[in-house]
């Protein structure tokens, strides 16, 4: 390759690197303003920032790795299409979370209608040997909780969120988070009791 072309290519690459660096230092609001103008590259920064949370929360809801990937990606696509409706003064994730939550609910309804629960796909817990049977029973207990309780359990234990963060995300008062969590834990404690000898 001629030296001139190599040099041009290097300059282009460094220009791209600078652009990425500039975007990294921008606030979420500024990035989202750019996304509103149709900048897909800027949206990539938002997706990369939240993809882990989105995927794991979806996995907690839909109990299947492939479905969690599909639903969380679908939510990002939907959010991009609706981004003009989003007020950039507000944090992005709670707004996105509500979109994804609805997609998860629709997905579960569809699945229930189809009675489609492949057994191998329900194994969403890490391959840890210790207390596997007990943990699987607990996970089954989580699956059987009412959706709003399950939601709080997932956010609390699998995303390590505080009560305040959960309340902000789901748009409910902290008191509601506290009592829902209490009732959910009570049910799970009952399951655990069968393994550890207390009721």
């Amino acid at each position: 390759m001629p030296e001139e072309v190599v040099l041009q290519k290097e300059q282009m690459l460094s220009a791209e690197a600078i652009q990425v660096e500039v975007k990294r230092t921008l606030s979420e609001r500024e990035i989202l303003e750019a996304v509103k103008k149709g900048d897909k590259e800027a949206y990539g920064l938002i997706v990369k920032r939240y993809m882990h949370s989105a995927y794991y929360i979806a996995l907690g809801f839909v109990h299947n790795q492939q479905d969690a990937l599909d639903v969380s990606q679908e939510a990002f696509i939907k959010a991009f299409r609706k981004i003009k409706m989003f007020d950039t003064r507000l944090p992005f994730f709670p707004w996105f979370y509500r979109l994804m939550r609805n997609l998860c609910i629709d997905h579960l309804k569809r699945k229930r209608r189809m009675s489609e629960i492949p057994l191998e796909d329900t194994q969403v817990l890490d391959d840890e040997r210790d207390d596997r049977e007990m943990k699987e029973a607990l996970w089954k207990g989580i699956e059987e909780l009412p959706f709003d309780q399950r939601e709080i359990i997932i956010l609390r234990y699998f995303r390590q969120m505080s009560y305040e963060e959960i309340a902000e995300l789901i748009g409910r008062p902290i008191g509601t988070v506290m009592s829902s969590l209490h009732y959910a834990k009570k049910k799970l404690k009952g399951i655990l009791g069968k393994y550890l000898g207390f009721e």
Binding site: K40, L59, Q73, P118, K135, W139, S179, K185, K189, L192
Partner: protein, 148 residues
């Protein structure tokens, strides 16, 4: 404060979500109430197990292609729109050519001409959307091999 309320607060106590006053209240109560003390210990065991539970991590490669896949789907959507519009124009043109004789015939009533063209437009739109749906469903239907 009654046991029910205390038990509710024990759960939050474990999570470190109580203020100083509530924490003190719980600690004082636990010192003298064996029933609530037992609830506290059992809840502690649950916390211990729950803290250790982890969701299965996906392959590292999944994170590498996560955004690319979204980007491609966003881009492809524009492609689909253009493809659909193009297909509709071509099909409508083809259909029009097929009935051109009837449309250009001055003796054909105007209402019939409108009817034929509307019917043609409807068929073209339905055909294209049906084709898109079939391709989309086929692509996403991962359980099509599973006997329903």
């Amino acid at each position: 404060m009654d046991h029910k309320k205390i038990k509710e607060l024990i759960s939050s106590y474990h999570d470190g979500e109580l203020d100083n006053r509530q924490r003190q209240l719980i600690e004082e109560h636990l010192d003298q109430c064996t029933e609530c003390r037992r609830e506290y210990e059992e809840m502690g065991k649950l916390e211990e197990v729950m803290e250790k539970m982890q969701l299965r991590k996906p392959h590292k490669e999944m994170w590498e292609v996560y955004w690319t896949s979204i980007y491609n789907r966003l881009e492809r959507r524009i492609g689909w729109i253009f493809l659909s519009i193009g297909a509709m124009i071509l099909l409508f043109f083809g259909g029009y050519k097929a009935v051109e004789g009837i449309i250009q015939d001055t003796s054909t009533p105007l209402l019939l001409k409108i009817g034929i063209l509307t019917l043609l437009g409807g068929v073209v739109i339905l055909l294209v959307s049906l084709l898109r749906e079939q391709i989309f469903v086929h692509k996403r239907e991962r359980y099509k091999e599973v006997e329903k």
